[in-house]
């Protein structure tokens, strides 16, 4: 028999936005539930290194699922009639529907990029439910810097352009193998999905007016952002941390926008102390 990785992958169906969504989820480990949210236009494969890290899975039940329309999760029935557009409400509903389906108690939620944004919304609105939130490359506000229409049109290859846009977000120090694996996920996204996710990340999900209301005594907030991130820059992360009293911000040198997948070895030196702290709290 081959030497299997410790990850188990399964499918189930949950209702989101009044529609049945078939979800693909991977998990490993036992202990405190750690729900992991992937970036815009990608999928939960980004977390494969965490799922295989014994130093984490000895203490955490790491759970990473593909959002509807992403990875191996299906779009809902009738998707041909809709333009995919992730709204703040739909995103929050999806994460909570997942946690409820899994009957998680006191979970930690960690998200990257748009996932790092939504966990801030959850820190405010679901403070009693979550044991803590970790925002990777997550700020409460961004400014758009390119025209999203380029991401979904018939004369430009959607996978190639998504990858070429975000290749700027990988640090030059990151190992080539993991750089291209990270970009491969982008090349495989469904048509218009990255664009639809960025509606939340760049437009609908702004939160800087309410982020100061987060009570970090009730729900601790950890912000970790890569030095080479061009969207959630170190400056935007620090500005977010300044608005969320009691939050803890770390700038990860030599990392870009995809810490867990572009440079897993370096990332674990930043995330392990945070997970230890949450565990000991």
């Amino acid at each position: 028999m081959p030497e299997f990785e410790p990850i188990t992958g399964r499918y189930f169906t949950m209702e989101v936005g009044g529609k049945a969504c078939r979800i693909y989820v991977e998990e490993a480990g036992s202990g405190i539930p750690l729900v992991c949210l992937h970036t815009a236009g990608s999928d939960a494969r980004q977390y494969r290194h965490l799922l295989c890290d014994k130093a984490i899975t000895d203490h955490y039940r790491v759970i990473a699922f593909d959002l509807p329309w992403h990875g191996k999760s299906n779009p809902p029935p009738g998707f041909r009639e809709d333009e995919y557009k992730l709204t703040t409400d739909l995103y929050k509903e999806t994460v909570m529907a997942f946690c409820e389906a899994y009957e998680l108690v006191d979970p930690v939620v960690m998200g990257c990029s748009m996932g790092g944004r939504v966990v801030l919304h959850l820190a405010l609105e679901q403070a009693d439910y979550f044991k803590g939130v970790i925002a990777l490359e997550g700020s409460d506000k961004l400014e758009a810097y390119y025209d999203l229409d380029w991401l979904h049109r018939p004369d430009v290859h959607g996978g190639e352009i998504a990858s070429a846009f975000v290749s700027a977000q990988v640090a030059p120090q990151s190992p080539d193998e993991y750089r291209w694996e990270t970009l491969w996920h982008y090349m495989q996204g469904g048509p218009g999905i990255f664009k639809g996710d960025l509606f939340f990340y760049w437009h609908d999900g702004d939160f800087d007016d309410r982020s100061p209301l987060i009570d970090t005594e009730k729900c601790p907030v950890y912000l970790l952002s890569g030095e080479y991130d061009s969207s959630c820059t170190p400056e935007r992360t620090e500005a977010t941390a300044a608005r969320i009293k009691g939050s803890q911000a770390t700038v990860m040198e030599g990392i870009g926008h995809f810490p867990m997948s572009e440079n897993p070895d370096l990332f674990r030196s930043f995330i392990l102390p945070v997970l230890d702290k949450i565990r000991d709290a």
């Binding site: 430009v156 352009i161 070429a164 846009f165 030059p172």
Partner: protein
């Protein structure tokens, strides 16, 4: 500047393969001087300083000399490491018909990044 572009790109068979459908000229601007870079089937055919107003290209990518020098350093600082990071910081500007650029974005980024110095 750009003296190595033709040699380096044309010696990179994977890069030439990725750009095999590209046949056009574009302008690469360094400070106020433009270079006309002509691509034929993914290979750099010529790189020449622009002398006449009528010598032009489909699109233009311009930045200051210091910006390109940092972009081409062995380990560029953040914001300088990729053209798509230079744009939001206002360190580079693109103009013209962006469609062929977008259709082959990683190829063009890599052609320009071929000037990166290899000395550590």
């Amino acid at each position: 500047m750009l003296e190595n572009m033709q040699t380096r790109v044309n010696a990179d068979t994977a890069l030439v393969r990725r750009g095999r459908w590209v046949n056009l000229s574009f302008l690469l601007g360094i400070d106020t001087g433009d270079y006309v870079v002509t691509i034929a089937e993914g290979k750099v055919a010529t790189v020449t300083p622009r002398r006449l107003a009528t010598e032009t290209g489909c699109f233009t990518i311009r930045a200051a000399r210091e910006t390109w020098e940092e972009h081409w350093s062995p380990m560029p600082k953040r914001d300088y490491h990729d053209i798509w990071s230079m744009l939001p910081k206002g360190l580079a500007k693109i103009d013209g018909d962006l469609l062929p650029l977008m259709q082959n974005l990683q190829y063009f980024k890599d052609v320009i990044a071929s000037q990166r110095r290899k000395d550590a």
